[in-house]
Amino acid sequence: MPSSSSKAESDPYKLVHDEMAVLCSNIRNELGTNQGDLGTITHYYFDGTGKAFRPLVVLLMAKACNIHQRAEDFLAESQKKIAMITEMLHTATLIHDDVIDASDTRRGKESINYVWGQRKAILAGDYILSIVSSVLARIGNTEVVSIMSQVVEDLVRGEFMQLGSKEDKNERFAHYLNKTFKKTASMLAASCKSVAVLGQCSEEVSNTVYQYGRNLGIAFQLMDDLLDFISSDLQLGKPTAADLKLGLATAPVLFASQQSEGIEQTRLLATEHTKEAIRHLRKLTTSVPQEALISLTLKLLQRQK
């Protein structure tokens, strides 16, 4: 646990409050004010009500990396762009996922496909992706473009994997974890690595933070699936056990099929991944943003919604 003295200072949101406050308006600026539905649809989810978990992690990681590398507490413009990109890419994925899963609600409101139809939802998602790609290119770093492009590919491959499962019980779990990496962890890992690269960190450091992001992402998804399994519609803002209805196997379901304590097993696995994430994070110079990331990682396990 973080030391009590730094607890007040290491409130994750407060540390990057200024950047988080302008995140959505910056995203809307990038998307532009297109005439007609395109503007309305692409701005729809960037209303400031989302958790913005990914940008939060990315911004804190950028600060932690900068302190580690040159003992300076600051954020580079390029690093802020990466935070923005993660939220945009995540949202574009959600828009497409909702069409695939036929979801009518998202973040407590009607989903884009429900309001404007599937066709426009898909094209608007593609538009956001094209803006993501432009913003990324304008950073002007070929390595970062390459790291982040891999995320797009992983997201799609993860989506394909979600449609299939394995016959063999053991294989099935490996399949689930692999899918989890591609759908969630890849983005966190790659965006953490990108801000390290942009902060001129060594390869060793960028690989360390990549491992942090990877483990955090897997723990995050495990907890997400767990909550989806146990909580009600109202609490989570999305249909209960929607994945289960669609016949998709998530960790709690898979564990439950093997033994009676699926929920506890899932929590245990998530705990292992958070421990591993923190172990990697501790390799960086101790700093307030680093402590904030640690407490944020631990809080993941207490998530109620």
Binding site: I122, S130, I131, S133, V152, V156
Partner: protein, 388 residues
């Protein structure tokens, strides 16, 4: 869920294992029989070959295959992938608007799912492919073109299902803008990027951009004009340029033909044919074609000698037109593999002549429309710059 069906889908769209375009001169140009010729990729390859690499660019001779850089080849592939992804995503249907005659709801939902995933898969390949070019400016330019393709679907030229509509206040300049968004931007920016990859000056890049844009205009316009040809059985598109021009001149008349959302095809065609607009449009095609004459200046091109044509001499008129006819067959998707074998000759012509000559080939379609009509009816409507 059927696993093998998904596997099949992945295999079909996987560009890693099966490059969509490996070489313009090989039959691999075509991924799926003779009805899906990849015009955009071909044009990118041809303009790359025509321009060669910039003087002073450090290129190993072994890296150049048929005068084209590996990065330009990848770019041609990416351009095709983006276009295909867009066609697939535009095919997504709105489930709530379906009627029982559209088929089983479950089938349509599954079809949508596959369309979303396979389109996403292609776009992701385009993203990683672009990243591998290691040129962030090219990534930015091409990303802009992807954005334009999406904007084209929100302009009011199409309804929420993607069907063409004709807003009453639309003008020919709106048509130009729409054509830019739906096809011109991608072709123009791909041609521009091909020049950038070969380290050409911004001047040459701009000319290539204009060439790509004008080619897209000619493709779209000549394609639309075909449906107004004598004895044509192709359905008229309500947002086709001749209809827009007619509406600008005689709004009442056009509204009459479009009453209650049903298009009176026969009357519309007759009115357009009698208005002189078709002739004007063919003249426009010509203007677009020659506007960028010398766009990629011949003196920048590395001299390449082909059999049958003497060094220093222009190919005679007959052989030129023959080659161009071949090219226009290639773009119209009418003849298939046989024609493609001859593109190596075309490559030479392209290298020796301003790239804009390609458009002259397109112009010749005008002459042979009636002869090839039977072919165009069976050809894939998507293969030539169509925005449907």
């Amino acid at each position: 869920m059927n696993k093998s069906a998904i596997k099949l889908e992945v295999a079909r769209f996987s560009t890693r294992e099966q490059p969509i375009i490996e070489d313009a001169e090989k039959k691999e140009m075509m991924s799926d029989g003779k009805h899906s010729l990849q015009t955009r990729g071909l044009i990118v390859l041809l303009i790359s070959k025509a321009a060669g690499t910039a003087p002073g660019m450090d290129v190993m001779e072994k890296d150049l295959v048929s005068g084209i850089l590996p990065s330009q080849r990848s770019l041609a592939e990416i351009t095709e992938i983006i276009h295909t992804a867009n066609l697939i995503h535009k095919g997504v249907v709105n489930i709530s608007d379906l009627t029982p005659k559209d088929g089983l709801l479950g089938d349509m939902e599954f079809g949508n799912k596959m369309a979303v995933l396979s389109g996403d898969f292609l776009l992701a390949s385009a993203c990683t492919g672009l990243a591998e070019l290691e040129n962030t400016q090219v990534v930015e330019i091409i990303s802009g073109a992807i954005g334009n393709l999406m904007e084209a679907e929100f302009t009011g030229f199409t309804d929420k299902h993607g069907n063409a509509t004709l807003p009453s206040d639309v003008t020919f300049s709106d048509w130009l803008k729409q054509t830019y968004l739906s096809s011109g931007s991608l072709l123009a920016k791909s041609c521009q990027s091909a020049m950038k990859l070969a380290s050409h000056s911004s001047d040459v890049q701009q000319q290539a951009y204009k060439y790509g844009l004008n080619t897209a205009y000619v493709q779209q316009l000549s394609n639309e004009l075909k449906s107004f040809g004598k004895g044509s059985h192709i359905n008229i598109h309500v947002s086709a340029a001749p209809v827009i021009m007619l509406q600008e001149r005689n709004p009442m008349l056009v509204r009459e033909f479009l009453s209650d959302g049903v298009v009176n095809q026969k009357k519309l065609v007759t009115a357009v044919q009698g208005s002189g607009i078709l002739e004007e449009c063919w003249k426009l095609c010509e203007d677009f074609t020659f506007e960028d004459e010398g766009a990629v200046a011949p003196d920048r091109c590395p001299p390449r000698i082909s059999e049958g044509v003497n060094k220093g001499e222009s190919p005679d008129q007959h052989s030129v037109s023959e080659h161009f006819t071949n090219f226009c067959c290639v773009v119209s998707g009418g003849e298939g593999i046989g024609v493609l074998r001859r593109t190596s000759n075309l490559g030479f012509i392209m290298a020796k002549q301003p790239a804009s000559h390609v458009n002259r080939g397109l112009m010749q379609r005008k002459i042979s429309v009636s002869e090839t009509r039977a072919q165009s009816r069976t050809a894939n409507p998507h293969c030539i710059g169509g925005r449907r």
